[in-house]
Symmetry: D2
Subunit: 370 residues, 4 copies
């Protein structure tokens, strides 16, 4: 075990004294890039991280639209990022100042019964998704990370590659909630409904299990092209009823072994039900705002499995290894890069994702984007 001492505050922005800049939310539609006090260790298990790269998530847009009630005005947004540890609490054992780290979007106390069974998304001691939600997040020059030992992942060598910020949330979400819950395996026919960033990360990570056929459905032709470029075998435009009938006929009426719902609407959940073969799995990844109709009068006898999951990020070590060794090129989803202080432009681009052909937008701190 590494001995831990109180790290000196090596804040490299000394010119600006004890203030940093951060993106704060002030109610529906209002965000500001503003000065804030530096965060500091508040509990012995905390660490403070200097952000070197962060990114925007669909969830941030939901917050911006006022759809996530728990987010209070003044909250610094963001739950993804990589950076360098600048301060550690007295109880932090596995990290020290200067370590390059990947930030998990899920904070894990590691002691409660849910954390112990690998489900920190439902941490019973104040963890789970709190960054940029219940506490200030990563769209800032510095961020305080609770339960640092089990919520940060050391990046093996040298300075962190900014692209790894996609491993904070989007890749483990696609892999855990979509591919793993769907139990994709060699020989399977897999449909991914929704080709947004998460759906496209499903396209990439599903290939780790060599399915026989990977079908993608979306309403946006550009995203369908992107999915084919990332390895999908077929891509169908979702128009009324059409995608379902094309999938059914391309599987000779049998349907798919795994349907991954990566949108979060009653219509796409309905499509997933309609194309499921007997014995198939429907892995829900999308965030739903309202109930959906489950067609049990048809499905009760079809031996299907439906899963939901909030990402636990337990797959980050494997994905981090795959990404740092080049087996998984996460940066293929990044279409736009900005400096961190251009974050308002980045939000504008991300909100107009279809028009701008944006998938993931990366923000690099300190210097010009590479």
């Amino acid at each position: 075990m590494r001995t831990t001492e109180r790290a000196p505050l090596r804040y490299p922005t000394a010119g600006r004294s004890d203030r940093m800049r951060a993106l704060a939310y002030y109610g529906s539609g209002r965000i500001r890039w503003e000065e804030r006090p530096f965060p500091a260790v508040a509990a012995p298990t905390d660490a403070v991280v200097r952000i070197t790269a962060t990114t925007l998530c669909g969830t941030d847009l939901h917050i911006l639209r006022g759809d996530v009630p728990g987010v209070e005005p003044g909250r610094v947004l963001g739950h993804e990022g990589v950076g360098v540890v600048v301060q550690t609490g007295q109880a932090v054992r596995g990290l020290k100042t200067g370590d390059s780290v990947l930030i998990s979007c899920i904070s894990a106390c590691a002691l409660c019964s849910n954390c112990r069974r690998g489900m920190p998304s439902h941490c019973e001691s104040g963890g789970g998704w709190i960054l940029g939600h219940r506490i200030d997040g990563t769209q800032a020059e510095y961020v305080r990370i609770p339960y640092a030992d089990t919520s940060l992942h050391r990046i093996p060598l040298g300075a962190p590659d900014g692209d790894l910020a996609l491993l904070s949330d989007i890749f483990p979400t696609a892999f855990e909630c979509g591919v793993t819950c769907g139990q994709v395996k060699p020989g399977d026919v897999v449909a991914i409904v929704g080709a947004g960033p998460i759906g496209l990360a499903c396209v990439l990570t599903a290939q780790l299990f060599s399915p026989a056929k990977l079908i993608v459905v979306d309403t946006d032709a550009h995203r369908l092209s992107a999915s084919l470029a990332l390895g999908a075998d077929a891509a169908y435009l979702a128009s009324a009823g059409d995608a379902a009938s094309r999938i059914m006929s391309s599987t000779r009426g049998r349907g798919v072994d795994v349907a991954i719902e990566a949108v979060g609407s009653p219509e796409t959940f309905r499509l997933c039900q309609d194309i499921l073969a007997p014995g198939g799995a429907l892995a829900n990844v999308g965030v739903h705002a309202k109930p959906v109709e489950l067609r049990l009068e048809r499905l009760w006898s079809r031996n299907v499995r439906i899963t939901t999951r909030w990402v636990d990020t337990t797959s980050i070590p494997m994905l981090l290894d795959a990404a740092t060794t080049g087996r998984l090129v996460v940066g293929r989803l990044i279409t736009h890069r900005f400096r961190l202080d251009q974050i308002l432009d980045a939000y504008e681009t991300f909100e107009a994702a279809a028009a701008r052909k944006a998938i993931k937008v990366l923000l690099h701190a300190g210097e010009r984007p590479r």
Copy 2:
């Protein structure tokens, strides 16, 4: 491999020449106990079985109410039973005249891809649930069984015990669709919603995995008493909202690890959703006639698994061993016994199950019920 020859027709009811008696359906509300020609082997893989015991299923009542459209007038009902083989087709390899057998409610061709992956409920060659549905069934003195080699199970010793007829459908359904799909394990808190015959068979078979607590919910006080007698730890009357709140408070707000839906209504499916702990499983066993509301706006983030299954009866060999060695006393669910020729009385009793305190009703052929 056993050589198979055409068995002589050892029909013991020679006095009545070539006619037997059977229970036939003639449209909504109309059944008759009538004379029918003896069934005979029609395909090389068929066998004919003399029924020694059969039983009535909730599905038979559904048919009687006209709710199962595929059942044509004149159809002999019944998909459960034990008996003795009296004739085998030329391609039957593993059975011979005189063998005591348990009839599976599912006929399995054994060659199609669904049969090969252990899912004969969705047999692609005309198997699945056909007895008493697409072809004449077991509520008769004799029945023809297609794909006999893989749709009958030899009973080890002597004459078949009539109680084993409960292994044709109800016990494998409870075990496979409820207990196995729900992945009940030591330490789990399990709720079984619905204490009809299937729910009570879930109570018995869930105990094979030693859950920490077994809770049963029903609207009928008698059935709740029965569930306690069969090993449940708690039994709650289902009145508006009450069962959910009692279950939640008895689990200190956490909910149950496994909820087994054994009714088939939107309300009970709703209850199962409401009491599910994060990380829990909802195993649907009930037959549903209409869609249900799935509260994805709450469940999308709760890491739950929902399963549906039509019984495949792959568990029959294990259950048969447990029943014949006395580890599982299936007869505990039998409340009423009749002679086969009293079957109209048996239907009357089973239709008035609540008033008569009936759970399973067994019919014994040939002699007086033991």
Copy 3:
């Protein structure tokens, strides 16, 4: 999260000032019950526990015979026990002074990659089996527990029942290394070779999965009787070749689905190989001092699975719940009880286990044994 402050030293044996009594090892065959300084928190993640009950393990006898080289003279022995927390380090979050706790025989740092994948037996940060091995153990009035948050288990209500000390090692070892690794399931024929304390704990915990038949083999007729009393279906004396042939003939030449090796000798490992059915599992629990012969010239084609495991104690929460609710009566293995200060007598009894008909020997601190 519970805030933690430095607990006052509520050592209740103040009359004896700052000294406690403990059982220390001084080389092969030599142990003493002697005065030692009180242990104190040394690292922020430590806790000190006042022992209320402890027990002796076969491993302690191995140490006493000089067979465990890492144990240095002066070491306080013991890795099992229950007690009350009297002091906690600053980084301890989930425990406080006064908590009743069960001590895991495995210390878990919770951060290393092995701990994170549920394998703290191979903790890479100085955990694993260290109590009574690399650091002073539990056969003492007080013990220091490293990584207390993840190496102690709170006992729900009131003062700890001393019998729960059997959950520190022997029950999780039997359950995890034997029953879980062997994947015992309903319908299986299971042979447990060796009816010492661990083998008998296998007899009890295998029943959680309702196997069809539980066969026990041992050289001691008394232990075979005990195994039958605890639920085994058959018990065979191990004489040359005899047990194997009886098991093979009782399974009609097929062999067993699961063989649990609970001795640790080449002969018993050989027996387990000989009785394994095609497709079976051999779960090794015994501690082996030398290589064994693996008959691959026969087994290579028999589709078998052989497992080894050092207990991880991840099953303690489930077993603790089963024990405190009375579903698992762990005390059934306790044949002898002593006061802690009679520990030398207890060792004498345990070393002569066969003659004394001893299985587990419990030591109660403070008062007379109940």
Copy 4:
């Protein structure tokens, strides 16, 4: 279900009347390419197949050396091949004359309890490995296949591609006994010990699960080159102790997650034990002629899993789909091609595999090899 009639004997070699040519074994070291009577359907479940391609297996060389006692003089060798159905027995339901088929090296009765649980390698009704062993095999112009319905696999379109003969045994053996039993998964470090045909098929099929690193060990530099060309990440020459130390240092002392033994000698089995990380799996694929030493004095505490398996060929449908859609190019292992009547030359080449740089040798019937 397809109706089956007795197919006319469409033997296309009419000029030679009722005789075919076949490779027969006459004791150690003696094989002949000789005239034999045509095989014909003997049981109702048989089919006769005209061979279009077959191949030689290491097992055939074992037989030739007299190492497989059950093979009687006069036996036609061979258990791999593709061809066309020319005759079917009356009980054959799923195949008809003219169907292109892949022959499984395992014959499956489909009714016995081992076949029903997916383990036809241990068929209890005369199936298992019988072709070219207990009955005449596939190194002939025609072969009789027992239990044809469940021992042949229809090839979807047109005439069979001869390369698919590698799916009769070698690919399912590598995939089932090596990759599946080893539970290879994304992130794993996998060592394959032995780069013969089976080891190289492990290299190809392990990649279906995207391991982090694939290491191959062999004594032959050419085969190591081949393994790198097929996708291995590292290849080490097996000299005394060296491979083990290189693997341990390349994994920073941790060892591998999965070791696949694809040789069948005590030395290579020893190497696999030595390089296994705690928690790892050793999947034995090699055929062993004598016992091996299992170092339980070290492994008992290392949480390892050792598996053996005779191939069941249950993975053939998935592999056949992968091969016919081009995802798995099985022909990459074929180094030499001959006409079937050149089979004695083919044996000579295969016996001198190292010198001739031979991996798999394919035999094409009827025409010149493509």
